[in-house]
Symmetry: C2
DNA sequence: CGCCGCATTGACGTTCGTCAAGTCTAGTGG
DNA sequence: CCACTAGACTTGACGAACGTCAATGCGGCG
């Protein structure tokens, strides 16, 4: 058996439970393995796709870390999300057959290319995949609702607290520490995502450090009191 | 033929081109007609579904106007969108089999109930429907990207301008005026959607009136200069 | 070693939120 | 039909939170 072929099979992928449906039989697994056309490497700073580019495929992140961002002609720029291993990007492209944002690798990455027509074809046959695709899209919608809530009604501290908790929780689900993390993005990118200026992000980090909630050394963050962070996120009613 | 049956058929619905795929043959149309289980009336102020409720169906709005909003236990409250005839709501419920927001009718409404398992079943057979469902979900994701951009990087005037232009454009696509509209929501609901306080919304309306950009009489709005509104939305680079 | 990008910190200004008072409108009941 | 009321809206005064500008610090890399 060709080792290259093994490497590209979802059925052998340790991230399968993150990006693929569970409980498939052998035959279904075999069909799923046909989903991934190729693997692709994306170097840090390079784009996986850009705004306006023709949409052909969804991408599953195998390793690495991405940001997706909207850049309008008039100079506005907004990070719409940060994505890590096991997450799917490219969903924005389906509606108009063109991508509407840029996906930029924040560290060297490897992704699985899943041609969308193949996804649609196989999900007509494999009900579990069909349902899974729907769930992934719905999950993205719900995630964005959460971001809207954050941007619309939280203050700077609350936003940064919510951001850190969300990141560390997703990392924990991938086997990393519950309390320690390395930020792959700059203060400016965090700020763009949170609707804040980079100085405000920096100041808020400093404030958290003063209060003993986190330790920060450049991009290395250690969470000392997840409870305090959680309290910030939940304390809209009391302090406003 | 039973007139009730005619009334419930998508194939006879004047909104079909808004909420259903185009270019179906007779047989496919017939399958599509099986999508809508029943029509339901929702009175102004009532909810179509609420946070935590079991998810069973997507809903197509036939008449009326809805808001969807998140309400957290700690008192935060955020309007995540306003929906009008021909639009689909309930997508948030797919991922966890439970709705994660409330859908409230802002005026008496009539909606088509489309059981989701039936949608999945039929879209396995009718490729156009399958693709359509994917597009609807992708469109919602892209819409929310736009809201994030607004909440993250626009000032009050810019947000309100974007909001008005978006509303009037969607109304125009439904045969209403390009320049006149009746707001179905309160200043507070607009503010919640835009991440502003109701006083700021009111003040910004007043400012637009002073500048001759719009006429406002309570909930009746006439847009005098769509160009000025558009300029506000696009003027991030120049004025910041 | 020196440069460059990223991060931090301070001083100051703007925008928007908060609180409060007052107006308008639609709906209700006498 | 009109007076009354509750909710929605407007407007003003003030303050807090955050943005802006600028100076400086720090760490990695050629």
């Amino acid at each position: 058996m060709n080792p290259q072929a093994i490497k590209v099979a979802c059925s052998n992928c340790n991230l399968r439970e993150l990006c693929m449906p569970l409980g498939l039989n052998a035959q279904e697994l075999q069909r799923i393995d046909e989903l991934v056309a190729v693997r692709r490497k994306v170097k840090r700073g390079d784009t996986l796709f850009t705004n306006g580019e023709k949409f052909t495929s969804l991408y599953a992140i195998r390793t690495g870390f991405f940001k997706t961002c909207l850049a309008t002609e008039d100079g506005r720029d907004q990070v719409t999300g940060f994505q890590m291993a096991g997450e799917i990007i490219g969903l924005d492209g389906i509606v108009n057959d063109h991508h509407t944002c840029d996906a930029v690798a924040l560290e060297d990455a490897e992704i699985c290319v899943m041609p969308f027509d193949r996804i649609e074809e196989i999900s007509r046959e494999v009900t579990a995949l069909q349902h899974h695709v729907h769930k992934i899209m719905s999950r993205e919608i719900v995630r964005e609702h959460g971001v809207m809530l954050m941007l619309g009604s939280m203050r700077a501290e609350e936003r940064l607290a919510a951001f850190l908790l969300n990141l560390v929780q997703r990392l924990h689900a991938r086997g990393f520490s519950q309390s320690e993390l390395v930020l792959r993005m700059t203060r400016e990118e965090i700020g763009s995502y949170l609707g804040l200026q980079l100085e405000t992000v920096s100041r808020t980090f400093s404030k958290f450090v003063e209060e003993g909630i986190v330790e920060v050394k450049q991009r290395h963050v250690r969470i000392l009191s997840a409870e305090d962070l959680q309290r910030l996120v939940n304390n809209a009613a009391e302090c406003h």
